[in-house]
Amino acid sequence: MQFSRVAGLATLRRLPLTRLRNVLRRFGIAIAFALLLVVLSVLSGSFLTISNLLNIARQVSINAVIAAGMTFVILAGGIDLSVGSVLAFSGAVIAGLLAAGRPVPVGIGGGLAVGALLGLVNGLVITRGRVQPFIATLGMLTIGRGLTLVYTDGRPITGLPDAFVWLGAGEVFRIPVPVLIMMLVFLASYVILTQTVVGRYVYAIGGNEEAARLSGVNVAAYKTLVYVISGVVSAASAVILTGRLNSAQPTAGVGFELDAIAAVVLGGTTLAGGEGSIGGTILGAFIIGVINNGLNLLNVNPFYQQVVKGAVILLAVLLDRRLR
């Protein structure tokens, strides 16, 4: 009896702290983001202006779109390291088709098909070939880059029509087109993950693959699907980047996988799979973008910027582990 009373008191005392912890766990990233905005607007007068905020959104859009696909993959318990190479090859194919005079929809369709195909190969190697996702997509990272170099002969492809360039550099009512594309991708991802059977299965496979299989889920098919999704959105980000640069660069997208993974993890999705949200990912992408932008505005040496960015990501994830 005595012991249980002691235990009871201890729980009582711990209660407000537990509640604070719950709030932090659920909204920690949003709170961190808000704090970041406040700090930067105090430090730099030019930060909190409409044009700068739209600028940030535009810069974020490419990474955010890739990170949306990466969220599917990581939720399902995988990882996709090939996104940067898939972006480069899709971009090259789009530019190649357009430079050869094909209509814009054909170019874009070709690029998205290439993204889907490379994603499908990733998925099949992982599910049918039983290769670890890390290794399978690492292979595709190299293959995709090689294909890009072969296709472009190592030179940029230029001479793109204005209608296409508008997708990367244009605006609608002052809102950059890439930002609109990003919003579209996130809306679709949100609906799929929260409202459809596909979303349920993705969470179930990432949470417990064996239990999902024993519940009748076609695990191989849905695992493959997430890599196809990742490939397609990587190609979509190729549309933005190629349009923005008005050319396809053979070295485009190098290292993009790491920023995308960082955005997903910052957004609270666990690398083990099964837990996380697409809303967290877009916040994660914006935190990275805002840090980049803020450090630029504050004239921080670009060499140091990398250190700061990495440290912030580690700090956020460490804090998240503590709260769990």
């Binding site: 012991f3 059977v197 969470y203 519940s215 009748g216 099964g274």
Partner: protein, 503 residues
């Protein structure tokens, strides 16, 4: 020898809660030097939790641990070992790829000057330890190449090498043959003679009477008492463990049996079982008993399509069917409640809602979009029908108690309107109250005409709930008992494969 009035080990007033469940409430355990102390209780009684606290795996919420009269804080498994507490776990914590000797000295390898591992010393010492135990295992062999029984002996050697004052053995005889068990009892006697205190956890009550000096009984996380073996009978011990008469615990009703629903013929999976045939009728509860390794759980997995069959055919309501995957089985109206709900039965990171509708979510969707209202109605109904202790359908399953988790698993298969339900260890690790509720559910399902195959290692459950009982031994059905003729002794004998040679 320590003085008589100070016990070697005392655990006093130990209390421990997990989210949603009180695992231990004011539990005590006292072990003297040179004593074999049995720790018994049903599954979920809290034995493992108590031992994990002793071993530094879980922190306790309240209570005290005294070693030779002095309070200690066991901070980690390594620390426990330094204190002289050695635990031989149920699931062996060994590294199959390393040698026997490396496993014995894992984390505390003898070193040479400069920090390099002293291999000669490791092999020599491991060899001596094994020789002391009277076993001939080459310390250089890779552990993975040993039999389970030999691995168990290595684990015991490891415990001894640490100069343990207290040795905990958690179900040590489960994987052992009769001869190996006898040899283990020999080691236990040696240890006792050396003044080591031994905590012996087992479900096999005969072993308690054979080896132990005293026994502590736990029930539903509560301390029932500590008794001298000399003044105790088996029946008394059982009623102390169960806390009520068995008949009250099992709500079995006689349901009129319908035509055969499941008819399996000559099922064989070479690795696990051979030529298994039986007929299950609508409304029948068919128990399958057997020891660990008898292949009984694998039969259920194979019928469900989770393990591919090497031979045999399956008829459902008289029609031959081909079941190649869980999806096939579900489509045909077969459900599987697995023995390991955390690893196989549930997605712990998902909500109660998502778990319950996982097998039928396609049926609830139009063009992949989930009809949320309809889903909510189903879930609400299930939560009410099964009287689940959840605060909302969105509660994450990980945070529920074992009993409620098991109800989620059952609820999941109720949604599929299964005509055959394969239940493997349906009440493992849940408290007595939740067990009885699961039994009530089984009866209700049988009344609706569902055929139930209940694979279980719990003798009382087999005897209490089955219309008919099959017994398996080493992958073969060795006996069949109608409910009226089933006895614990008969089932045990068949399970041990001694039905013809003995008597």
């Amino acid at each position: 020898m320590p003085s008589v009035d100070v016990p070697l080990l005392e655990m006093k007033g130990i209390t421990k809660s997990f989210p949603g469940v009180r695992a231990l409430q004011d539990v005590s355990l006292e072990v003297g030097a040179g004593e074999v102390h049995a720790l018994v209780g049903e599954n979920g009684a809290g034995k493992s939790t108590l031992i994990r606290i002793l071993g530094g795996i879980y922190p306790r919420d309240a209570g005290q641990i005294l070693l030779r009269g002095l309070p200690v804080e066991v901070a980690s498994p390594t620390h426990a070992r330094q204190l002289g507490i050695s635990i031989i776990h149920q699931e062996l914590n060994q590294v199959p790829a390393l040698s026997v000797a490396e496993n014995i000295f894992l984390g505390r390898e003898p070193r040479r000057v400069g920090g390099l591992v002293d291999w000669d010393e490791i092999y020599a010492r491991a060899g001596r330890l094994l020789a002391d135990l009277g076993v001939s295992i080459d310390p250089r062999r890779r552990l993975g190449t040993l039999t389970v029984a030999e691995q168990q002996l290595v684990e015991i050697a490891k415990a001894l090498s640490a100069d343990a004052a207290v040795v905990v053995m958690d179900e040590p005889t489960a994987p052992l043959t009769l001869e190996e068990t006898e040899r283990l009892f020999g080691f236990i006697r040696d240890l006792r003679a050396r003044g080591v205190g031994i905590i012996y956890i087992t479900h096999r009550l005969q072993e308690v009477f054979k080896t132990a000096d005293r026994v502590t009984v736990l029930r539903d996380g509560q301390y029932v008492g500590t008794y001298a073996i000399a003044g105790l009978t088996m029946d008394e011990l059982i009623s102390l463990m169960v806390g009520r008469r068995l008949t009250e615990k099992f709500p079995k009703e006689d349901v009129p049996l319908g035509p055969p629903v499941l008819d399996v013929r000559g099922l064989t999976v070479q690795e696990f079982f051979r030529d298994v045939s039986f007929i299950l009728r609508h409304g029948e509860i068919l128990g399958i008993a057997g020891l660990i390794g008898s292949g009984k759980a694998e039969v259920a997995h194979a019928i469900f399509g989770a393990t591919p069959l090497d031979a045999g055919e399956i008829l459902l309501d008289g029609r031959p069917v081909s079941i190649r995957s869980a999806a096939d089985a579900i489509a045909l109206g077969i459900g599987l409640v697995t023995e390991d709900r955390k690893r196989l039965g549930l997605v712990l990171s998902m909500s109660v809602r998502a778990n319950i509708t996982l097998p039928i979510i396609r049926r609830l969707a139009v063009a992949l979009f989930i009809r949320r209202l309809e889903e909510t109605a189903l879930i609400t109904q299930a939560i009410r029908d099964l009287d689940m202790a959840v605060t909302s359908p969105e509660q994450i399953v990980r945070n529920l108690s074992g009993g409620t988790q098991q109800k989620v698993v059952v609820a999941k298969w109720l949604q599929t309107r299964a005509r055959v339900l394969l239940m493997v260890e349906p009440t493992r690790g849940i408290d007595v109250g939740a067990k009885v509720e699961i039994y009530h559910l089984m009866v209700a399902l049988a009344r609706r005409g569902v055929g139930i195959v209940m694979v279980s290692s719990e003798m009382e459950e087999i005897l209490g709930m089955s219309d008919r009982i099959l017994v398996m031994h080493e992958g073969v059905i060795t006996a069949e008992f109608p409910r009226a003729q089933a006895t614990q002794e008969g089932i045990m004998a068949s399970a041990a494969g001694r039905v013809r040679s003995a008597v």
